[in-house]
Subunit: 727 residues, 2 copies
């Protein structure tokens, strides 16, 4: 099927390329309708006014097009970024107002780029393997092509043939040639940078009626279809829309897809690009939105800035286009409302209109329990989001058993995170980066991103012998993925469960984790976590819980390091933890209670045999003050095989304004393993005097098989009993 | 005047004491009007419904009145607290609905207290010098009297004579006797605990028609007027309403004043209690509200929980009563709107009505630059709040040169704090306490409150020789106060300045600090801080800046402690700081830039001669995990006399969602002292190439005197020049 496509396309292209302008962002007819809508829908009007105010400040001015010099966050970087946005926006305003001054503003800037670009060499601050010319990395040059391509198309009709020639040959050709020739391998890579590159070259191709550019964009530099935009659509997302780098990069990755698809939708409707691969672009967008916290922030899997949320420009553009092509979706309306702006596009107008109708916009995004698969075929593990609770009382347990996630992946097989009431509770550090801040390494990823944040110990999963998964080697990690063993999820179900296995992160150590998100009668929220490590040799197993909150109490007698602090370890991320206290414990249940915002959270951990506990805080070996200082609780066990059983309870209420605290103690009293062998684990958790029993299979997951262990009989991979009754 | 009052009062009392009930909270006529208003004003209706829902849950139930046993946060403590609130609320509902079930609920509980109270001895958890009986401290017993006193009055008419006798003799008399006899000295103290005690006994006196109680409440146990409520009104606030313990305790202190005054207003209108001392109760309330951050949190001078804001119940009650007696105040409307509830009181109804009128409620509290004096006569130093900027862009510089602040005072003479855009920037730690959290020392002040938070090094002021002001002795500190030398403040003025002196915190060391809040042409916000320490002997002077944010860059080459951390010092609070880095510097200007939320902040410091810098973080010597971990920058200078010149700049913008950063570098280039001697200091601050000159007098503050130094001529205590022109 894919191999046939290029031929069909080559056949119909010539006729289309001489088509009307504009066509890459909106058409003349759409612009006329938008103009009429402006007066009708307040949010559209406001977005128009904001854009106009911003652009009007530059009309008649000689806009600087500086010689590229600075890294991200520096003057020339920010200026060129501001310039392409200004050109795109001025182009839109030209079409919506008919005022030639906007077209002139864009044209004058283009003529400067037409002089600048032919002489550019590799950017002086280039450090990446794909250096840019206008910017330090080629990715930003591709961004520039996307926006200036649309800007050019938007003012195309105002230009003389001579001006067009000057711009096409001076401003665009050197950049397109650079990306498609000098950086040909990079351009043809199936990777989110490649999507931007294709979108840039493709949009410029449509804008300049250049069939060669469009063909390369769609089917790769050699036009065979193994690379290029169609291959990117087929090769970068899982069938259900999950993007392997994680939701933070989904947000970024979908923008060029949506912008180029938006252009193709108008210029080459016969491609039916938005229907491609069973509406993969819609799935990707919705998967990205499901992977957000109540406040709209993307869950920080892999490299991710925790501050990034769905009000970012990328998502504004994508949901507006999605509204246009996929139709009404009330969840998107909430997102648009929080964004507080729409694009000046048919879809933006549609959302602005829908927002004027009362009662359609929900108060919360329609979050649900959901599982995504990883890998192009959906066969490379995945991630489960277990959800419980309504509105602001929502809890989310994230269980990640994906593949590595390309160059932005972290070494965190079987990692879990927990959110409650919009707050991070059991946390993932995210990335070490201050985006755009020049003093912090030019705004790029800081060295600690590799040495700390991507290492296993920075996550809530087992570290064996103080070595990261795959020894921290991306090339090895990329070869493997974890496997889901079984799961049963349903939003607000009393029992939600996911089990997964990883047998590649360490040689000869099998990691298997089963997490249960439970709601007891009466509403108590309990998460149980059974983590098996299996090996023939003796190992040191560390299971950390990175928590967000103030330690309120712990049941353990510990040795605090009060006058002098030393580091937890020497390498693989361990060197970034200060040891605040440690304890030796044996054959018991230990508890840690912390306060986050207005609620208490307790971790209760089964200790079998001897174990050590560490109370740590990040910030050691951080001479440049790049890290946040956050607490962790680490359970260390030396054994050949071991089963960690941990229980997280959400409890109580703290009201510092009314000066009231209730339920500050965990109801979990003891955690025991009634039975534990290769076949079965049966855990008993005593809660307020009542028994919660979890019986599970460890090897056999047939839904109809019968089992019996520790006096419990059940069918299928697991059963959960509370106070004698099946939950 | 004061001495005459008791006589007049004794004369008119008998007639009044047989008056109608209810009268302590509202009258029968007011209740009828409230009932009519309920249907008219949504917020009043909602507050009524909330109260009814809460109380209805207990109607017909046998409410527990347990034997006192637990500390704050424990069951019996919380239960008795919940009980008195329930009784008060049920009493209100009885009057608003006429339903006898509410009166019965209150009566049944009273009858239990009538059995319990006569047998009570000192509370088993009592640790304070004023132990309680129902609660661990007498203060809470006084709270109980206030609310149950009103509850009794509210159901008085429903009781038989026998029931009244039982309750008055069983529930009230033992408690009143305990406070006025066993704890007579405490009852007669001029202190906020004493206000609660007077209010409790006085309200019970009015409710039970007991003249003796009312007299003791108004004029002290010996009824001479040197103690008691009137003396508390005269002796606890400065003439402008400042309360010496600080705004956090203002909030708490005003409630019993307002509640008892509200009762007296109805029962003894001839006292004109709300007009007393030129409306001191209105002044105290408004002073408390001015001392809040944009988010409504009280500035954390002295012992203070930072989470406490003006939505607390105390402030709800006070502003509603204030609205009733002092009339309309749009600022209060904003507070009521944020509180989201009103009391079921004439004032609450008035505010609920006003909130239904569009356009009256401002979006922000009307904050302004203001100075408060400390001491009953306003002669014991004070505090200046300098403000600049509109709406959310408000900056506030707090300069504290008060007296000590009683038992909740901190050793922080000449301390400054800075707020911007609703965020704490240069911070005061507040108190070390988790109010209500039983695991944290029963919810009481933690030991670190004395050993750390109240010590000088925990504040932004000079510490001499690593010893706290007054050597950390409250009894010594209480004898002295700082002095304001001169000031010139006006909200949004380009130059606002306050100078103050302290010569008692250390023997033979004079501390003098002058702070300038400046707005340069174009809007740049600069704060300049000139701090003189003068002595004949050599000393070590430490000036810390406790900041809230992530360190972005510092101009200093420093030695980071990456593998091992040690403490900054051994005592007087120094033992709680980890040394993260240190640096030796000489004759230069050093800079520290940090990021808070969406803005950058830089401190630029003049270094004359040799000095040391410490980059620290709190959390050392904290075996119980009681402290927050917050960064500080400490400048250390060894000298006999020294002048610290520091400049704080608010600059730039960080937008992690749009991935944009601008103005991340401070514009301040160099700081110099052009002239510095006993008479004059002339500082030169180079900002973006332009010169800001501050010339000030250090001894002579005559507004008309002429001065000349470093080639600058000026009149009065100071002048500020920018780019050659007077600012």
């Amino acid at each position: 099927m894919l191999r046939l496509l290029p031929i069909i396309v080559l056949f119909v292209l010539p006729a289309l390329l001489a088509a009307q302008h504009p066509v890459t962002y909106f058409t003349k007819a759409e612009a006329a309708q938008l103009k009429a809508d402006l007066v009708k829908y307040p949010l559209l009007k406001q977005s128009f006014t904001e854009m106009k105010t911003e652009v009007d400040a530059w009309v008649g001015k000689d806009v600087d097009v500086p010689l590229p010099k600075d890294p991200a966050g520096g003057y020339t970087h920010d200026k060129h970024k501001a310039n392409y946005t200004l050109m795109f926006h001025a182009g839109i305003l030209y079409n919506l107002t008919g005022d030639i001054k906007y077209a002139k503003l864009v044209k004058d800037m283009f003529l400067k780029y037409a002089v600048l670009n032919p002489g550019l060499k590799k950017h002086p601050q280039a450090t990446s393997s794909s250096p840019g010319r206008i910017f330090w990395q080629a990715l930003n040059d591709a961004n520039w092509l996307v926006y200036t391509g649309m800007a050019y198309d938007l003012i195309y009709n105002s230009l003389t043939a001579a001006e067009r020639k000057k711009i096409e040959e001076g401003a665009f050709k050197p950049e397109v040639d650079f990306l498609t020739k000098d950086l040909q391998t990079w351009f043809d890579l199936i990777h989110n940078h490649g999507v931007w590159a294709c979108a840039g070259v493709g949009i410029v191709g449509i804008a300049t009626n250049n069939k060669d550019y469009v063909d390369m964009a769609l089917y790769g530099t050699n036009k065979q279809g193994k690379s290029g935009f169609i291959a990117q659509l087929d090769g970068l997302f899982a069938p259900d829309g999950y993007y392997t780098e994680g939701p933070y990069y989904t947000r970024y990755a979908i923008l060029p897809y949506y912008l180029f698809a938006n252009a193709l939708h108008r210029a080459k409707p016969e491609l039916k690009i938005f229907e491609h691969r069973d509406r993969i672009l819609q799935k990707a967008l919705l998967a990205g939105l499901q992977q957000t916290n109540l406040n709209g922030a993307f869950f920080p899997f892999n490299d991710a800035s925790k501050e990034k949320d769905y009000t970012s420009n990328e998502v504004v553009a994508a949901i507006n286009i999605a509204w246009d092509v996929y139709g009404k979706d009330n969840g998107l309306l909430l997102v648009a409302k929080k964004q507080g702006r729409v694009t000046l596009h048919k879809g933006g107008a549609g959302m602005a209109m829908a927002l004027t109708k009362p009662g359609q916009t929900p108060q919360y995004y329609p979050y649900r329990s959901v599982e995504y698969t990883d890998g192009v075929k959906g066969t490379e593990g995945g991630v489960s989001l277990l959800r419980n609770g309504k509105e602001n009382n929502l809890s989310t347990l994230i269980y990640k058993y994906t593949s590595h996630g390309l160059s932005h992946g972290h070494f965190d097989k079987l990692n879990i995170s927990y959110y409650d009431q919009g707050n991070e509770i059991i946390t993932d550090y995210g990335s070490v980066r201050f985006i755009g801040v020049e003093q912090k390494y030019g705004g790029r990823y800081l060295p600690e991103n590799k040495t700390f944040a991507s290492q296993t110990i920075a996550h809530n999963t087992v570290v064996v012998d103080e070595r990261s998964h795959f020894d921290g080697k991306e090339s090895t990690a990329e070869k493997y993925h974890s496997h889901k063993l079984f799961s049963n999820i349903s939003t607000n179900g009393a029992v939600q469960v996911v089990a997964a296995l990883d047998s590649n992160a360490y040689k000869n150590v099998r990691l298997q984790r089963t997490v249960y998100m439970l709601q007891l009668p009466g509403g108590k929220k309990i998460t149980a976590d059974i983590f098996h490590t299996t090996s023939k040799e003796q190992h040191q197993y560390d299971l950390p819980f990175h928590y967000n909150g103030h330690l309120i109490s712990t049941s353990v007698k510990y040795q605090p390091f009060t006058n002098k602090q030393e580091v937890l370890g020497q390498k693989n991320g361990y060197q970034f933890f200060w040891k605040e206290a440690e304890a030796a414990v044996a054959d018991t249940t230990v508890h840690l209670t912390f306060l986050n915002d207005r609620s208490y959270y307790s971790i209760s951990s089964l200790i079998t045999g001897d174990a050590k506990l560490f109370y740590t805080r990040t910030g050691a070996n951080d001479p440049d003050f790049n890290l946040r200082h956050e607490p962790s609780w680490i359970i260390r066990k030396n054994a050949a095989s071991h089963t960690f059983v941990n229980v997280l309870e959400v409890h109580g209420r703290f009201d510092p304004v009314a000066e009231f605290s209730s339920g500050a103690y965990t109801a979990v009293q003891t955690v025991r393993l009634l039975h534990n062998d290769e076949q079965y684990s049966v855990a008993e958790i005593k809660i307020d005097g009542k028994l919660l029993i979890i019986a599970q299979c460890n090897r056999q997951f047939d839904p109809s098989a019968q089992h019996n262990a520790a006096g419990i009989s059940w069918t299928g991979p697991y059963t959960v009993l509370y106070n004698g009754n099946k939950l």
